[in-house]
């Protein structure tokens, strides 16, 4: 087990290194000079040269690469070209917002998917099951940003119940924080909930047909105990994996949703930086995202072995 974890860890580090390297050279293949773009059309070559020198962009590519890698290991991600703040500052300002959206949407998705999935499985082939399936199908077929716009039109513009845009820090006011995140969280979480729900339903149906559930029923347990204590535990195992894999969906979703709801999280910072060719920001943010993503998958795989002791990795 320890050997498996170590091997996976090395593999994960390799992937993250690969992503970082790809991003580094990919960005520099982009036509256009970030310094010129930053200075605007009336720049002087001397000023541009000075900034390039300050940021180390006048050095040969491989030197820049080695320096950047070395700095990462010491925790220094560099400075933004466009704003002058450090990449760390930019991430510190964006990360809580993106994470908040991700957490709220994850919680909402679970709160929607697990009960509906259970009901759909227990009332298999009833009209409730069909309705839930149809809604789930619509959920996966819907662009999250469009659903976000619909939510704004309904709950912010028409009913005026919730704010349409913006963000409040949880430390300022937890209630305002939640009110600002409910709509974006729902927009991102809807597609996620739809996928999860289908897994809960399928997982529970499979388990309900198994021998040990029949045994549990045969020994006279009431249906509630059979489902909650016996069936559900095993049915939710695959859901854990899917939840981990779908973190990418959540992150992808937040990028666009941040723009719809005017929240300056990592996604907005990243898209802006890509367009401005702000190398250090793009590199730093993508590095962070891939660490989260790869790390989450690693954790899920390890949790999995505890949930289902039959699984043995070599």
């Amino acid at each position: 087990m320890t050997r498996y974890i170590i091997r996976r860890l090395i593999h994960s580090i390799f992937i993250i290194w690969g992503v970082a390297t790809l991003v580094f050279f990919g960005l520099r293949a982009v036509p256009g000079d970030p310094v010129v773009q930053f200075l605007g059309p009336e720049y002087t070559p001397e000023a541009a040269e000075a900034i390039r020198h300050k940021l180390g962009l006048d050095e040969p590519l491989h030197i820049q690469y080695v320096k950047w890698m070395g700095n990462i290991l010491t925790g220094d991600l560099g400075d933004s070209i466009a704003t002058g703040e450090t990449v760390e500052q930019a991430i510190r300002s964006g990360f809580p917002k993106t994470m908040s959206i991700a957490i709220v949407s994850f919680a909402l998705a679970l709160a929607i998917a697990i009960p509906t999935g259970i009901i759909a499985a227990l009332k298999r082939n009833s009209w409730i099951d069909y309705c839930v399936s149809v809604i789930a199908f619509i959920g996966v077929s819907m662009p999250s940003f469009w659903f976000g716009i619909i939510l704004i039109i309904l709950f912010a513009v028409r009913l005026g119940w919730l704010p349409a845009i913006g963000y409040t820090s949880i430390t300022d006011s937890p209630w305002d924080w939640f009110k600002h995140l409910l709509l974006p969280g729902l927009a991102v979480g809807a597609g996620f909930a739809a996928i999860l729900m289908r897994f809960v339903r399928a997982g529970l149906l499979e388990v309900l047909g198994s021998d040990y559930v029949r045994t549990a029923r045969a020994k006279g347990l009431n249906e509630r105990a059979v489902i909650i204590r016996h069936a559900l535990r095993n049915a939710l195992i695959p859901v854990v994996t899917i939840a981990g894999i779908q973190l990418a969906l959540l992150l992808s979703g937040t990028v666009v949703i941040e723009i719809v709801f005017s929240i300056r999280g990592l996604g907005r910072i990243l898209v802006g930086a890509i367009l401005d060719k702000d190398y250090p920001i793009v590199q730093g943010v993508i590095l962070l995202v891939s660490v989260i993503f790869v790390g989450a998958n690693l954790v899920v795989d390890i949790i999995y072995t505890f949930l289902d002791p039959r699984i043995r990795y070599e």
Binding site: I15, S141, F145, W146, I153, F192, V271
Partner: protein, 316 residues
């Protein structure tokens, strides 16, 4: 003489050629049997039926949209922000253009980009998966590590980055979206090839010395066509979602082309006064992707393939 040489020698003999023929006929029959079974199941699969009917409708709309559309997509003298009415079923946009016309015309762009991206991803992904699964060893490791890299990028970040490197425009959007979905195909195909590799007919084909390309083309590919088709169906839908997302971010096709994502993007600024500009183009996206997903899901049940398209949904 090692095994491989023996095998090649056998193939040149008459008996070897005869054995080859028999194997091919058997492969043909196996395929036909499978085909009949699938057709029988498909007829019973309501989801697939409903899905394909709608997909065909959307394809017809895409082909005939210029004749179906009541106006020209660039006509802008209908008055700004007209709410939906009989003359303008979906209202008019901020330039005074008929939204219904623009949504109809947009069908073509979205479907074309989705289909091209899915086919391109299929071509590359299937080839990589075949090579990795069939040859194994270092080639497998190399290919799968590359696929892992691709998978570690969230789709939207990958596509935004690609468009930033190569510039916006329909062709680059297709390339970016295709690249993002290559890994799904490669994984599915590789797993299928690994499963098939030890089957008897494969051992037979190898033992009479069929060359690798022949085994892959005649014995493996026809047997994994079902999961590939299912994956393509899902990929077209995902491609449409990704394209609309990119266009929504202002990174998609040329802004003079009427597309669903573009209308949505324009409508966002006017949600206070003209909800219809963002609602209807989005509905068009949902309906199209929904039809494709229903069809794909029905096909998956009919083909009885597992593990395909389980992890997707990562689009806009």
């Amino acid at each position: 003489m090692n095994r491989r040489q023996t095998v090649t020698a056998m193939q040149t003999t008459a008996a070897g050629a005869r054995a080859q023929e028999i194997l091919d006929v058997l492969a043909e029959e196996r395929r036909a049997r499978q085909g009949n079974r699938i057709w029988a199941r498909l007829k019973r699969e309501r989801k697939a039926f409903v899905g394909i009917v709608f997909v065909i409708c959307f394809v017809l709309i895409a082909i005939f949209s210029p004749t179906l559309a009541p106006y020209h997509p660039d006509d802008d003298d209908f008055g700004l922000f007209q709410s939906p009415s009989l003359e303008h079923p979906m209202g008019t946009d901020s330039f005074g253009r008929d939204l219904f016309t623009r949504v109809l015309i947009g069908t073509r762009v979205s479907l074309t980009i989705g289909l091209l991206a899915a086919l391109a991803a299929m071509l590359v992904g299937v080839s990589l998966g075949l090579l990795a699964g069939y040859y194994g060893g270092w080639l497998d490791s190399l290919i799968m590590r590359l696929i892992d890299l691709l998978w570690a990028f969230p789709v939207i970040i990958l596509t935004v980055g690609m468009v930033a490197i190569f510039g916006a425009g329909a062709r680059n959007v297709v390339i970016a979206v295709a690249l993002a979905y290559i890994d799904d195909f490669a994984r599915v195909v590789r797993a299928e090839v690994l499963r098939l590799r030890e089957e008897e007919f494969m051992v037979a084909a190898r033992s009479i010395g069929a060359p690798d390309w022949r085994i892959m083309g005649r014995h493996i590919l026809p047997n994994i066509i079902a999961p590939i088709i299912v994956q393509v169906t899902f990929a077209v839908g995902l491609g449409i979602l990704a394209e609309s997302g990119l266009t929504f971010l202002g990174l998609g096709v040329d802004p003079s082309t009427p597309t669903w994502g573009l209308s949505l993007n324009e409508g966002r600024a006017f949600i206070q006064r003209a909800w219809w500009i963002s609602v209807f183009p989005g509905m068009a996206i949902v309906c199209t992707v929904l039809a494709l997903n229903l069809f794909g899901d029905g096909l998956r049940d009919a083909f009885d393939v597992r593990g395909v398209g389980d992890n997707d949904g990562e689009g806009g």
